[in-house]
């Protein structure tokens, strides 16, 4: 199928980068004038370096993934054209797949090893949006989940463009500067408020709000949690990093998994370290998100005044 001239070689993220920079500067000035956003210079440096490294990594292995998608396209189920009405459908479908990819990135440690990088800042500002992983290749998700739309019949170029638009949308929601959007927007779209919850490590915020663009997926699949006025958000990961070194940030969870698997007493435990939710351990000495929430709920019940 011929790719239309406007789509060939179009990389939406490249066009968005100048706006990213301008918005980060604007948020810093906002933070200075109002105190309504938090920054830490070393943390911002680390986040921005992770973003640059992610871009370099994508250039290095992007050709391989692109070649795979072209190969898969030969086996497509449908011939979907580049018609104008296909674009919104592709955007919504891509967001649906994003939801599940993102959800599994939080619930399977193999995939978490890549995604944890994005959550490894204790700050929540626009630089956090650019704190991106370098190791997407290692998850192998591109072999199956990342190829699903192409197998259906969407052209790889279209899939690349709507995927880029999805990521661009998610940039602006990484901020504390915007408290709430209009109700109708909060009901349908992913917003700064919803995504702050996603980055929270408060027990009742853990593993919630996986949406990319449309928050409706979380409402449909039971993972939605609104931001609560009486619950100040703590950002980061359950075991926060004590380093700003980009190399350590990029690879720490992979190394941790390798060490756990090496020390595992048997094959089953070794595989569970890789495939079970983050925090799983054979002796229960660590805690998964679910276990943390259960402990928190138990204590809340214990502390509740008797009726």
């Amino acid at each position: 199928m011929d790719v239309p001239a406007f789509a060939a070689g179009f990389k939406p993220i490249d066009w968005a980068i100048p706006f990213f920079v301008l918005l980060i500067v604007a948020e810093m000035i906002f933070a200075k004038r109002t105190g309504g956003a938090r920054f830490e210079a070393k943390d911002s440096a680390a986040s921005l370096m992770m973003g640059l490294g992610s871009t370099v990594a994508t250039i290095l292995y992007g050709g391989l993934i692109g070649a795979w998608l072209v190969f898969v396209y030969d086996f497509r189920l449908l011939d979907i054209p580049f018609a104008w009405w296909v674009w919104p459908i592709a955007l919504v479908l891509d967001d649906f797949f994003y939801y599940w990819s993102h959800r599994w990135a939080h619930t399977v440690r193999w995939f978490w090893a890549e995604h944890v990088i994005h959550h490894s800042s204790q700050h929540y500002n626009l630089t956090t949006a650019l704190r991106q992983p370098w190791t997407g290749l290692f998850t192998l998700k591109w072999l199956w989940l990342g190829s699903a739309m192409v197998l259906i019949g969407f052209h790889p170029v279209m899939v690349g463009i709507v995927g880029g638009i999805n990521l661009i949308y998610q940039f602006w929601i990484h901020t504390e500067a915007i408290k709430k959007c209009p109700d109708w927007f909060e009901a349908v779209m992913n917003t700064p408020s919803h995504h702050r919850v996603h980055h929270g490590i408060n027990p009742r915020y853990l593993d919630r709000n996986y949406a990319g663009i449309f928050i409706v997926w979380d409402k449909m699949f039971g993972t939605f949690q609104p931001e609560l006025d009486d619950e100040e958000i703590r950002y980061g990961v359950v075991k926060n990093l004590g380093t700003y070194n980009p190399l350590r940030i990029a690879f720490h969870e992979w190394i941790s998994i390798a060490n756990d698997m090496r020390r595992a007493g048997n094959w089953r435990d070794a595989m569970m370290y890789l495939l079970a939710p983050p925090g799983w351990s054979p002796d229960g000495s660590r805690s998964t998100s679910r276990e943390i929430l259960e402990r928190w709920e138990a204590r809340r019940r214990d502390n509740a005044p008797a009726e």
Partner: protein, 138 residues
């Protein structure tokens, strides 16, 4: 060549944004106000942390708190404008050395946690905690 120029330009852009961040004075070094605050943070972080005796560093940039019954030590260290927590068990400590002054230089077997100096003016307390930490070497 173009890619290299873009890469170098990106590095310059990052440096400029970080410099602006610094110039605006947006970050404030984290402090642990008191030992009670350290215990509160540990209890929030690890629901049900049963605090025993503890120590707050002179500069309020670190704290050590024993956990009753569990044999662990809760370690809190200010890192930039944030506080990072670790729960130290047997094998967690690489070395805890007394410095020239009375500081403890603590290194963990955790490559995501940079070595830290814990400022303690009380020599006996410093010695006690250094010994306690060294008992957790692996």
């Amino acid at each position: 060549m173009l890619e290299l120029l873009i890469f170098l330009g990106s590095l310059l852009g990052i440096a400029a944004m970080v410099l602006l961040n610094r110039q605006l004075g947006l970050s404030e070094a984290a402090e642990i106000a008191s030992l009670d605050e350290a215990v509160r943070r540990l209890d929030t972080d690890q629901i049900g942390f049963m605090a025993g005796p503890g120590l707050l560093a002179d500069d309020r940039r670190a704290a050590l708190v024993e956990e009753k019954g569990a044999g662990r030590i809760g370690l809190l260290v200010a890192s930039g404008s944030d506080v990072v927590i670790r729960y130290l068990e047997s094998g967690a400590v690489k070395a805890a050395k007394m410095g020239e002054g009375r500081d403890i230089h603590l290194a963990l077997n955790d490559f995501t946690f940079a070595p830290v100096d814990i400022a303690i003016s009380d020599t006996a307390a410093a010695r006690h905690w250094a010994d306690r930490l060294n008992s957790m070497q692996g």
